[in-house]
Amino acid sequence: MSGQSAAISRRQKAVTLPTTRILSWGRYPKTAHQHVYRPAWNDEVPAILNAAAPGSLLPYGLGRSYGDSCLNAGRELIDCRRLNRFLAFDESTGMLRCESGVSLSAIIDTFLPQGWFLPVTPGTRFVTVGGAIANDVHGKNHHCAGTFGAHVRQIALHRSHDGLVPCNYDDNSAMLRATIGGLGLTGVIAWADIQLKRVAGSWIDAESIPFQSLQAFLDLSRESNDRFEYTVAWLDCFAGKNLRGIFFRGNHAANPGKKYHPKRALKLPFALPSWFLNRHSIKALNAAYHRVHTSWKRKALLPYDSFFYPLDAVGQWNLLYGKPGFVQYQCVIPETNCAALEELLDRIAFSGMGSFLGVLKQFGPAPPAGLLSFPRPGLTLALDFAMRGERTLQLLQSLDEVVQQSGGALYPAKDARMSPDLFAASFPRWRSFVPYIDPKMSSSFWRRVTEAR
């Protein structure tokens, strides 16, 4: 029965506090935190905010951000995972009100059997609703549905000075737009109203089509975007000029089909040695992946989890990269500048440091839902790089130059090292975001990209 208040008083008593090690999904950078609050109820949050020093807190969810945007090194985090209740659901409209620590996985498990699915889903189901809003995540249906934030109708935000602030498109709409994509800096989301999407069942009519050039990808993408709700491509980044990849597209199957029971995921129990993923093993993996998908039949009825979340089949796959961890690089390049994308792929292939999973997707024209939303019209490329110290950072630096010259942008949720310059170029409106930051909030990422200015 000892609640959070007792925990706070205990903490103030303790002088030598063990620093809590919390890492992001990329396991780089290595950070320690002063303290992690774990409120189980929304009524505990105001006391945490009131007691905190300015710039000392950051909400934390399932830690699936790759870099340091979910970290607050040397300071404190509010772990929101226990705030995971559904508060209301309208069965006729599909409008769900839930607390911010609810995972997308929990939403699927509860509502897919009733015929409702997420309006937008990223490549993993293990993110919280709060995290999905704070990073304004996108999915394979960006070209027709926009980002996750576009389906958020209302939120209630714990602010340190204003208490619980309801934000919707009529009241406090500016605060709502700042919180969508706001990296958790505007306050702690108490609950959010999300419009779920009607589906017939758990199955996806999927197709996979091999392609051999960037132009072929573009043709496929343009042709598919009208007819397919979900499109994405996998890319072999070792191929360089001889680009090769597999284009995936799909729609929710019109028939409910047979009942689907998701399988239990395997889980990596510990970090593999860092040499496990090297250029040879990755080349072999890429070749195997390509072989498998070109030899399979092109059309298939897939369960939703193997279509949307192939990586979730291996729990903790981030441990594949070993102790040093990895960084992910996700940029968007304007479509008018395809040469820049080719230049990026060339540099990556030349470096020999590319990764197993290259992902390419054409974003749609939807206007950004938030002030700092990353998705914008263009082509987005996402790649993992094993962290090999200076060598890796230098390669990424050289990629940054190409992105910046092309008028592109980098994705904060994936970033652990972009320069303040590139951040400002990627998000020219960032200064108008600053007034919405809660004075008690800060993050490692935010300090890194803005404090020099």
Binding site: M1, S2, G3, A7, R10, R38, A40, W41, R85
Partner: protein, 273 residues
């Protein structure tokens, strides 16, 4: 408190048959949860909700109970009623019991899930803190269990379960206040089990190892404790089926505690854990 023992009312042979029948058929459907907002209870309730059970929740905060009620109904519970009360205060027990009898007259399972864990040092420095620890974890718990036990015994059906702790298996330097209260509750349940056995009512003692809940957040290494969802799965399984009278969760604690139990006192008093 009009508990009448029904010892010797049935013939031994018949009783055995009846016992077997209830053992096979019993599944928890209408459940009273005392301390419904505690960390482990929250996860137990979710599983019961998914199974479409009917729940009656008792906890202190009306607001939290309302949030919980909404959540469990969305997750599939067929009905959820709530009653705000401070179970640490024995004066409120009669009202809690009356409400349960009125709202869910044919409840088949009672789970007591509340507890408190003060800093051991505080209980040494202040007798008030010590008494509070005993009051919450043992005195009030045994009092309310007595009310519900009489009702189940009269109806000759159901299951009574309470969460104690592995800390109650042996007194240790670092947590003997909490441990002695939980240990006393375990003993109480042991006797109660023997009494209710005659009426075909099951009594389950649940002894979790350290679990990640708000109660244990302040302990060192709490990030390595068991997940409450895991404890909840074990508990629900135990409530539904005829499984051990004493449940350790995670199971390894049964073996750990059996070793700990056998260390001679002259050695044990020198150990620092």
């Amino acid at each position: 408190m009009t508990a009448k023992t029904t010892t010797g009312e049935t013939m031994p042979g018949k009783k055995m048959a009846a016992e077997k029948l209830t053992a096979q058929k019993f599944t928890a459907k209408k459940i009273v949860i005392l301390g419904a907002t505690s960390g482990i209870a929250l996860e137990v309730e979710r599983i019961f909700a998914r199974q479409g059970c009917e729940l009656l929740l008792v906890a202190r905060s009306p607001q939290r109970l309302a949030e919980l009620q909404a959540d469990l109904l969305i997750r599939g519970a067929s009905a959820v009623s709530t009653y705000p009360a401070d179970l640490a205060s024995v004066q409120q027990h009669a009202a809690v019991f009356d409400y349960s009898r009125r709202t869910l007259p044919d409840f088949d399972t009672v789970l007591l899930a509340y507890g408190s864990m003060h800093d051991q040092k505080d209980t040494e420095a202040s007798v008030d803190v010590l008494l509070d620890e005993l009051q919450v974890n043992f005195v009030s718990a045994s009092a309310i269990l007595t009310l519900f036990a009489a009702d189940l015994e009269r109806r000759r059906t159901g299951c009574l379960a309470a969460i104690t702790s592995v800390a109650g298996d042996r007194g240790r330097r670092v947590n003997y206040a909490y441990g002695s209260a939980k240990g006393a509750l375990s003993l109480f349940l042991q006797g109660l089990r023997s009494r209710l056995h005659l009426a075909g009512v099951r009594v389950i003692t649940i002894k979790p190892g350290p679990v990640q809940t708000p109660m244990t957040d302040h302990l060192p290494n709490s990030a390595r404790f068991a997940e409450p969802a895991q404890a909840a799965r074990d508990i629900v399984r135990a409530l539904h089926r005829r499984s051990p009278d004493v449940l350790y969760t995670p199971r390894i604690w049964r073996y750990v505690m059996s070793v700990v139990h056998h260390i001679p006192e002259t050695v044990f008093k020198r150990l620092s854990f």
